[in-house]
């Protein structure tokens, strides 16, 4: 009988850790626990900002996302889109969509539009909302949009020239835009650097939708008003959906997130208990020697 061959990349204990995580997280997906999601002040503020839009106001939704981060970025973005299209239908708010990161943001926008189709289908494309797809250039595209909207946008995702799109007439610079929903999975620094309400008189507010891991990074900007509000990750999505009154992807994820977090805390405690135990054993054996 041969000995056991060492199996591949990860040690056995790591793979057991992964397996326990998968089982723990699968349980609330199959049988939801239904823990209440307290709505934080940050999400309430962002919701109020979006809800403050009036007839004729211009809302820009810029997506610096990719399909890799779909399950973190899409829930809050879909909640924001649902709200935006509802406002477009009820109050005549104009919605401009585009992405500035890699080409992946174009398919990300297509994917979230697929999920929110009932909300934009009744609207008139070109008069109530427009999709410019991918504007290449990251921060350079954002700087270009701030100074010259028509020159930067040029053509929409279908190839129609910006001069032929009725709602784009009269939108020349960022000062003609009322609010911005900026969704990013990488670097949130570009939003306060290029599109700050403190720099452009007509721009009333900006909301940053970002990974929860980036929230500590944007807090100094939020504190100074360079970013007005934020909605973060799946947690923010769950809260935003509660405020919209229609639960979606975000709320479903939070039960699994709760168990995942408890598991992480258990691992930290176990690791430290084991470490302290082995350290005291080592120091005892050193004393005996």
């Amino acid at each position: 009988m041969g000995e056991r061959v060492a199996l591949g990349t990860f040690p056995l204990t790591d793979r057991l850790v992964f397996l326990v995580f998968i089982i723990l997280v699968a349980i609330p997906i199959l049988s939801p626990i239904g823990l209440p999601i307290p709505v934080t002040d940050a999400t309430k503020k962002s919701f109020k900002l979006m809800d403050s839009l009036k007839s004729g106001d211009i809302l820009v939704m810029c997506f610096e996302q990719d399909m890799g981060t779909f399950y973190s970025g899409a829930p809050p973005d879909e909640a924001g889109l649902r709200h935006a299209f509802t406002l477009a239908k009820q109050r005549g708010v104009k919605v401009i969509l585009f992405g500035t990161s890699s080409a992946g943001c174009k398919v990300y926008i297509d994917a979230i539009l697929m999920d929110t189709k009932p909300y934009w289908e009744p609207l008139r494309y070109g008069e109530d909302w427009v999709n410019f797809g991918w504007l290449p250039g990251f921060e350079t595209a954002m700087a270009g949009f701030a100074r010259d909207v028509q020159g930067t946008c040029k053509v929409d995702v279908y190839g129609k020239r910006v001069e032929e799109i009725p709602m784009m007439r009269g939108i020349k610079t960022l000062s003609d835009v009322t609010g911005i929903w900026y969704s990013t999975n990488t670097n949130p620094d570009m939003l306060p650097r290029q599109w700050s309400p403190l720099e452009y008189k007509g721009l009333k507010w900006t909301i940053c939708q970002t990974l929860f891991a980036s929230v500590p990074w944007i807090m100094p900007y939020v504190d100074k008003g360079s970013i007005t509000g934020y909605v973060a990750d799946q947690r923010g999505a769950g809260e935003y959906e509660m405020l919209l009154g229609k639960l979606g992807m975000g709320a479903t994820f939070m039960d699994a997130q709760s168990l995942g977090h408890l598991y992480g805390i258990a691992l930290i405690v176990m690791a430290n208990v084991h470490y302290l135990y082995t350290r005291s054993k080592t120091s005892k054996s050193k004393e005996e020697k």
């Binding site: 890799g68 290449p136 930067t152 190839g159 100094p220 598991y263 992480g264 690791a271």
Partner: protein, 221 residues
């Protein structure tokens, strides 16, 4: 003449002139149309440069196939995928022109139902690695690491709904750490990053940082 044109000082000078032009317009508002036009040019240059990165990876896999390296068959799969996606995309409609609907549907299937799950799957490793970090690395070896671990646990219970269900205090306590302690420290880091950004820009203008030209920086030679 040709030797003069090949000198590395010319692209560095172009870099310096363009960035100083934008900064001068920002502070004085002297030539907004020139600044707008320059930014417009950069967006177009971005589009041309985007395709460049693909060619080096392409050449690498073609070399692997030629040399019959280990797992060269997978490189064949890769090259075939490139052409299948590109062809279906071009036939499905490109540049604002409409194409064959069946080709577009196949192209949409490839990015939504094949590429997207693969990308999500590969990126999701980070989630698993977080647990190995906790399991192997989260050991309180000193007092400062202990502070970090305690704050980590408080924030984890602040962020997950179960924390507030266990004790309501995790909400305000976690928010205080996030809004006050974290904001103060990140402010210091941000000032450092901002100053560093300007420092690197000045070094690039003076020719010390030449990585963007594909050369080693002065001092690293």
């Amino acid at each position: 003449m040709a030797l003069v044109l090949k000198r590395r000082e010319i692209p560095i000078a172009i870099f310096a002139v363009v960035s100083l032009l934008l900064l001068a317009d920002y502070f004085t508002g002297a030539w907004p149309d020139v600044a707008k036009e320059t930014i417009g040019w950069a967006i177009i240059l971005w589009m041309f440069s985007y395709v460049l990165g693909v060619t080096s990876l392409f050449r690498y896999h073609l070399t692997r196939i030629q040399k019959r390296s280990q797992y060269w068959a997978y490189s064949v799969v890769l090259i075939v995928c490139v052409f299948v996606y590109l062809l279906s995309g071009l036939l499905g409609g490109v540049g604002g022109f409409s194409g064959i609907p069946a080709s577009k549907a196949f192209n949409d299937f490839l990015w939504l139902n094949v590429l997207a799950p693969l990308q999500t799957g590969i990126l999701s490793y980070v989630g698993f690695y977080m647990y190995t970090i906790f399991f192997r690395g989260a050991r309180t070896r000193s007092w400062d690491v202990g502070i970090m671990m305690i704050v980590t646990i408080i924030l984890m219970l602040n962020v997950a709904p179960v924390g507030m269900a266990l004790w309501e205090g995790f909400g305000p306590l976690g928010d205080w750490f996030k809004d006050v302690i974290n904001t103060g420290s990140y402010r210091g880091i941000m000032i450092g990053v901002g100053v560093g950004l300007i420092a690197v820009w000045v070094r690039a203008m003076l020719g010390y940082e030449r990585a963007f030209l594909g050369e080693l920086s002065r001092g690293a030679e």
